[in-house]
Every structure is written in structure tokens, then in C-alpha cells.
């Protein structure tokens, strides 16, 4: 109930953010432009529409999560609204979860809206609803949930600008860390390899949520991969949220 109340107010606040609509506009523009781009390109047009469409949803979704998520907790502290909230019988963990779920709800609505536009564009080209695309969008959303958790974590102790940079760094590292897996394979067994393996286990691997290529090209994906990617996303998000709660619980609100 309390978490739902905080989530509701966060959703209401996020809805008022003009940045959200600006990003949504550009995302829609990107999806629609994919169709124009497809006309100008040599090759399978529908693949280009799907590729650019999914990339737009992913990119603008991440920007929404970072730009809104990093200010979530900071704004409450800066505007001192937190004094009134934490003076109620509210656990700090409930506050963090409420803020997180409020933004996840906002992103869910935005992703749904972007997906509808995307499916409509694809439908206009193929005259059929391509359900596999929903799998790719579903995992993009899972990635957004994780990015939101990271943004909330940084927002607990840092300014929005720094939090945005940290979260962006997390996103970039997350999409490049799979390279470590290649290095591990090529390294000889030993301390160095163990170190790199430890680093790889600690760093996020956001490529776990990237099914765009497989979906666009119609490649088969084993069901186990879905499950492991889903579990990876849920566990990593829970870990980051746990860290955020730990940091937030120790804070003094001067």
C-alpha cells in the first residue's frame, strides 16, 4: 500500500516531465524514419525497419531511464519533500522501492506506446503482427528496469549530472563487457584469467538482454537462454536495489 502510494506519486511526477515527451517524440520519429530509411537502402527493407525500430526503443528507453531516474531521489532530498515523507511510518526501503516501481511503471507505459507505433509501422509493411518482436522488446524493457535500478542507486548519493554519467558508464560497460568473455577464452589458466573472470562476473553484461539480431533475422533461440537472461536481469536488479537501500538507510537528511 505504502509502496504503491510512493510509486503512484512518482508516476504522476514523471508524467509531468517534459524530457519524457521529448524523448518519446524522438523515439517515435526514429521508428517512423526507419521506414523512410528502408526505402533508401539496398537490401531487406523489413529487416532495416525492425532493426532501427528496436534500436530506437532501446536507445530512447535508456535515455528516459537515465535522465528521469537519476533525479528521482535527489529531487526529493533537494526539494526537501523527503522530510514530510520519512516522518511517516515508512521504511526507507519502501521509499526506494516505491520510487523505483513508479519509474518502472512510467517506462512500461512509454515502452508500450513506442512498441505500438513500431508494430504499426511493421504491420503497414508486412500486413501481419510479428509477435517475436515482442520478445526483443520484452528484454529491452528488462534492461531498462536494470538501468532504472542503477539510476536510483546513484541518485541516492549523487547529483543528477554525476548520476547520469555514472549510469551511462554502467550502460556502456554493460554492452562492452562481453569482450572480456572472449579474452577469458583466449587466456591461459592462471591468476590473470581468474582475475578477468572475477571482473566479468562483477561487471554487468547487458548483452544478455540483446535479442534484436536473432529476432530481426529469425534465428532460433533456445528457451533456456530466455530463462537465464530473465533470471540474470531480475537478480542483478535486486542486487542493485539492495545496494541502493543500504546506501539510503545510512543517509542523514540534514
Amino acid at each position: 500500500m505504502k509502496i504503491a502510494a510512493i510509486a503512484g506519486i512518482t508516476f504522476k511526477e514523471a508524467k509531468r516531465d517534459r524530457v519524457l515527451y521529448l524523448l518519446f517524440f524522438f523515439a517515435a520519429l526514429g521508428i517512423v524514419a526507419a521506414r523512410v530509411l528502408a526505402v533508401l537502402t539496398v537490401g531487406d527493407r523489413i529487416k532495416i525497419i525492425k532493426d532501427v525500430g528496436l534500436a530506437s526503443i532501446s536507445l530512447f528507453g535508456v535515455l528516459m531511464a537515465i535522465l528521469i531516474g537519476t533525479g528521482l531521489v535527489y529531487k526529493e532530498i533537494d526539494k526537501k519533500t523527503i522530510f514530510t515523507l520519512l516522518a511517516k511510518p515508512l521504511h526507507r526501503a519502501e521509499f526506494i522501492l516505491g520510487k523505483f516501481l513508479g519509474l518502472v511503471l512510467t517506462l512500461c507505459v512509454m515502452t508500450l506506446a513506442m512498441t505500438l507505433i513500431f508494430l504499426a509501422i511493421v504491420y503497414a509493411h508486412t500486413l501481419r503482427i510479428e509477435t517475436p518482436l515482442l520478445v526483443a522488446v520484452g528484454f529491452i524493457f528488462l534492461e531498462l528496469v536494470l538501468i532504472t535500478a542503477v539510476a536510483v542507486l546513484f541518485s541516492c548519493f549523487s547529483t543528477p549530472i554525476l548520476s547520469s554519467l555514472f549510469t551511462l558508464a554502467f550502460y556502456l560497460i554493460g554492452h562492452l563487457s562481453w569482450g572480456l568473455e572472449l579474452i577469458i577464452r583466449k587466456m591461459r589458466p592462471g591468476a590473470g584469467r581468474t582475475l578477468v573472470r572475477g571482473l566479468y562476473a562483477f561487471l554487468p553484461d547487458l548483452e544478455n538482454f540483446n535479442f534484436k539480431t536473432e529476432v530481426v533475422h529469425g534465428l532460433p533461440i533456445p528457451a533456456g537462454i530466455y530463462l537465464s537472461s530473465f533470471l540474470y536481469g531480475v537478480c542483478y536488479t535486486a542486487f542493485i536495489l539492495g545496494l541502493a537501500v543500504l546506501v539510503f538507510r545510512r543517509r542523514d537528511f540534514i
Binding site: 522530510f83 514530510t84 516522518a87 511517516k88 511510518p89 515508512l90
Partner: protein
């Protein structure tokens, strides 16, 4: 009577700056607030009043000492179930209306839907915001925000109400209304802990006070014990007689037209002044004995400390 608030040896240091420097803010505070009383917490700016309140609300972790509310540690969210708080400058979500904001705070206490609407309507009436209930809070004046803040502090029908400068920014009529509401809390058996810079208000409604200076409680007790009823001097206003006539009977404070305001020390001299007025066929306009006030005690305590 049990304690609503019990603070023992509360200490808090702040570490501020790029190279953190420790600054002690609370240096071992100990006092209790009994259930059902109105307790005034006074102190100059920066004395540690708001820090004490933040410790009471669990917004700040004490470095040492204990803070209990109705026997529960202030760090436990359960201690805030029976507590209502009005911050010094009410900071709320300004895009919400007062009604929406109260509904939100009611949700934080898990109030049932049927109780919620009834309680919100009652509180809006109590603080005089019925007509503005559906206006966004950003359109409210400071005084209106203070009223909305008071309403949210009462949403859970608290046993203890903590008010940080509740009368700041209010016009005289509003101040009287809020004072009356605070006195009504006492009649309903609620405990009130409040800070104010307006010492007359504290003197009018508080049962007990504590004065904090430099992070230490320097005086604490029942108002009637702190403020003596001894007459310090008497202010006498007379007309029709020149100020010089009174000589050293009293100190002339002001002369307006044919009116003279005198400060007279001692009852004997007051009698002499009155005799003189009769003899010289002057007119006595007013005579007011001045007893010690909380302000006198406060100024004396702060200056001495």
C-alpha cells in the same frame, strides 16, 4: 504520566566541507516531554532545534544517546505511527491539490478508503482550506501551505504532534487560529512539541519549555516556575503634566503631545507618581505593571550562555 518523548544524552556531529571538519551540533541533550502537555522548544538560530527534531523523526542518526517516542526508538518507523509532523517550511509536491496531497499522506498510514474521505474533509475544514482544497499547492500562499502542512500532520489522528515553527508566515488572525487548534490538541489529550521564534505564543500556550543554546539544554521546566510573577517595573502614562515635573520618580520613555510615558521602579514610587498626578490635576491614562516574560528569560539565558 508517562513520557511521550524521552531524549537521553543525545549527541550529533556534522562533518562538512571538502576536507570534512567535525562540528558538534548536539552536545548531550537530555529532556522528556510528558504525555498530554504542550512543550515549547526554544533557542536562537543554529542552536540545534531542527537537528533535535530530525533525530526525533529518524531523519538523522544520533552519534550517541537515545531518542524514544512512547517508549519506541525514533529510528524505528513504527515510532512514527502515532506521530504527526509539520516541517518549518512546508515542502510538498506542489502540483498536487491539498485534497490529493492529504489522500497521499493517508495512504502512507494505510488508512481505509471510507475513513480517508471523511477525515480529509474534516481536516480541510479544521484548517480552513475547504474552498482551496482543489487548487494545486503551488498556488498557495505561505500561510495556506502552513495550514495544508498542519492538516497532513493530523491525518493519522496522532497522539504526538511535532510542529517546527508552526506560526511562521501566518497573519495575526491565522496565528490565533493555529494557536487555538494547538490548545484544542491538549484538550483532546494529544501531546504537542513545538518550536517557535514568537515567544509570546509559546508563553500563551505552553505548559513546559526547554531552552537550547549551542547544542545544550540550558534551562528546562514548567513555565510558571521559570517566569516569576514579581513586578519588574510599572509603565505609567499620564497627560497634562510635563515630563520634567516627575524628576527622578520615573524614567521618561516617550512624550507624545501632552502624554508622557514613564517607567517607574518600585511600588512606593508608583504611589508618589499617582499623588503627583492628583495634586497637579493631571490625568492618569494607563498604568501597567510589567512582570518577567519568557522573552526576558530567553534573552538573559542566551546572553549569559
Amino acid at each position: 504520566m508517562s513520557d511521550a518523548i524521552r531524549i537521553r544524552d543525545l549527541r550529533k556531529n556534522f562533518r562538512l566541507g571538502f576536507i570534512p571538519k567535525t562540528r558538534p551540533v548536539l552536545k548531550g541533550i537530555t529532556f522528556s516531554v510528558r504525555e498530554g502537555e504542550i512543550f515549547g522548544y526554544l533557542g536562537p538560530n543554529g542552536a540545534g532545534k531542527t537537528t533535535t527534531i530530525k533525530c526525533l523523526l529518524g531523519l538523522i542518526r544520533p552519534d550517541a544517546g537515545t531518542v524514544d517516542i512512547f517508549g519506541r526508538s525514533s529510528l524505528s518507523p513504527r515510532s512514527r505511527e502515532t506521530l504527526g509532523f509539520l516541517p518549518e517550511n512546508p515542502y510538498f509536491y506542489d502540483y498536487l491539490t491539498a485534497r490529493e496531497f492529504l489522500a497521499f499522506t493517508a495512504d502512507l498510514f494505510g488508512l481505509a478508503r471510507r475513513d480517508k474521505a471523511e477525515r480529509i474533509a474534516r481536516l480541510l475544514k479544521l484548517v480552513g482550506l475547504e474552498r482551496a482544497a482543489d487548487l494545486p499547492l503551488r498556488k498557495y500562499s505561505r500561510g495556506m501551505l502552513q495550514r495544508a502542512g498542519l492538516a497532513q500532520a493530523l491525518i493519522n489522528d496522532p497522539k504526538l504532534v511535532i510542529l517546527d515553527e508552526p506560526l511562521g508566515g501566518m497573519d495575526p488572525l491565522g496565528r490565533k487560529e493555529i494557536r487555538d487548534i494547538i490548545v484544542r490538541f491538549k484538550d483532546e489529550g494529544k501531546t504537542v512539541f513545538f518550536t517557535s521564534h514568537i515567544l509570546q505564543d509559546i508563553e500563551m500556550i505552553c505548559d513546559r519549555v526547554a531552552i537550547i543554546v549551542g547544542g545544550r539544554i540550558v534551562r528546562e521546566g514548567a513555565l510558571r516556575d521559570l517566569v516569576s510573577e514579581k513586578v519588574l517595573f510599572t509603565e505609567v502614562t499620564v497627560s497634562g503634566i510635563a515630563a520634567e515635573v516627575f524628576g527622578d520618580l520615573g524614567e521618561s520613555l516617550s512624550v507624545q503631545g501632552d502624554r508622557v510615558l514613564l517607567r517607574v521602579f518600585g511600588e512606593a514610587k508608583v504611589d508618589e507618581v499617582l499623588d503627583l498626578v492628583r495634586d497637579r490635576r493631571g490625568r492618569l491614562v494607563s498604568l501597567s505593571p510589567r512582570t518577567e516574560t519568557l522573552e526576558d528569560i530567553f534573552v538573559e539565558t542566551v546572553t549569559r550562555t
